[in-house]
């Protein structure tokens, strides 16, 4: 029996979306459980990259391998891929700017702290 390549594409896309949902769940648990601003920022970025770039790529693959959508599936696939690319560029830059501003102004408490890369020798 020959396997439909479209079916494989849809399966891969759906699996990637599910993996993205897992990242979103871990990101939200981290948001609630992590102790300070910097670690919670890390959880938010897990949610942004794993939880929206990845599912959007999955949607792109899924849409491209769904012939029932007709010609418009290429619009959906292309738009999802481009949106994923833009978030991939913008989200880390935004996190970087937030973390840098919070660190340099000293407005966010650093405790509990085990390693401080901004200080000589990493001492807290």
């Amino acid at each position: 029996m020959a396997i439909d390549p479209y079916l494989i594409g849809r399966f891969v896309g759906a699996v990637i979306v599910l993996v993205g949902a897992f990242y979103d769940l871990t990101g939200s648990i981290g948001m609630l459980r992590f102790p300070n601003f910097f670690t919670r920022l890390h959880a938010a970025t897990v949610g942004a990259i794993g939880g929206s770039v990845l599912p959007m790529l999955g949607v792109s693959i899924y849409a491209a391998s769904e012939p029932a959508l007709g010609e418009y599936r290429w619009f959906m696939a292309g738009a999802s891929a481009v949106a994923a690319l833009i978030i991939l560029i913008v989200a880390p830059a935004g996190t970087h700017v937030l973390a840098r501003a919070a660190y340099r102004s000293g407005t966010a408490p650093k405790e509990p702290c085990t390693y401080d890369a901004g200080k000589e020798g990493g001492e807290c």
Binding site: L32, I86, I89, A93, V97
Partner: protein, 263 residues
């Protein structure tokens, strides 16, 4: 602690149930075609009606049709009010030159991300403005999006960097060019024997902007209005941002100078 989880779970439940409701059409059809009042029915049915060439706007976007054709004079007045506000700002800030000193800006990572995304934002702005007669959006929305580029450059690079590329005088010139363009598009029909703000041919006057250019639907004057409006709004908002974010010392110096004259 428990209340935190309650909040998280309830937000997730709201999002999931809302998306199910929208996906299964619980909010009804997106365009209500039943029970419309006669004016609304006319707007919805005449926006794109090639079979009724003397009443249609030839634009599938009903909102832009209303904004620039059915109620074009109203929009022109709104635009004039906005420009009055911008002229007021420029007058209040007269004698203040935005400093041309180029600062350091944010970190290299932030600057590279801004340099990559700024052209993308401009492309989106152009798409919103120039597709305003086909899809939701239009000149004002496109222009406001383009002004975001100026704001991003101002924050990540510095005010001096923005001013070195787009001086106050040049922004004023662009803004005036946009407003003049809108006035020209509105006044060309009466010069050629039509009505002010006319788009497509009417029973009383045969003047008509081309509904198609090179086979692409341009909806007559709507494309030009959106183009000039986006230019004017982008330049006007950029100018306002530039003036309002001038450094304190520069503003203070200009104000102090006036004080001395009075004494």
């Amino acid at each position: 602690m428990a209340s935190r989880y309650l909040i998280a779970v309830s937000i997730a439940l709201v999002v999931v149930s809302l998306s199910f409701a929208v996906a299964y059409g619980a909010l009804g059809a997106s365009v209500p075609l039943e029970g419309l009042r006669s004016l609304a029915r006319a707007y919805v049915t005449l926006a794109y009606a090639p079979w009724n060439r003397t009443l249609t706007v030839m634009s599938p976007e009903a909102v832009t049709s209303i904004v620039w054709d059915f109620r074009g004079v109203d929009t022109f007045f709104e635009t004039a009010v906005l420009f009055g506000a911008i002229i007021g700002t420029v007058t209040l800030f007269r004698g203040i030159k935005p400093s041309a000193r180029i600062g350091e800006g944010l970190s290299a990572i932030a600057r590279s991300a801004a340099a990559v995304t700024a052209p993308m934002i401009l492309a989106v702005a152009a798409a919103i403005a120039l597709h305003g007669h086909l899809t939701p959006g239009g000149g004002f929305q496109g222009g406001a999006t383009a002004a975001v580029v100026a704001l991003v450059i101002l924050v990540t690079f510095s005010l001096g960097y923005l001013v070195s590329g787009l001086s106050k005088e040049r922004a004023l010139m662009l803004r005036s060019a946009g407003l003049l363009g809108i006035a020209a598009v509105a006044l060309i029909p009466p010069i050629l024997g039509g009505i002010v703000f006319q788009n497509q041919a009417k029973e009383l006057s045969q003047f008509s902007y081309p509904a198609y250019i090179g086979g692409a639907l341009t909806s007559g004057s709507l494309l030009f209005y959106n183009l000039f409006e986006s230019l004017a709004v982008a330049a006007g908002l950029t100018l306002t941002i530039m003036l309002l974010l001038s450094p304190h010392e520069v503003v203070e110096e200009a104000v102090r100078g006036e004080d001395h004259e009075r004494i």
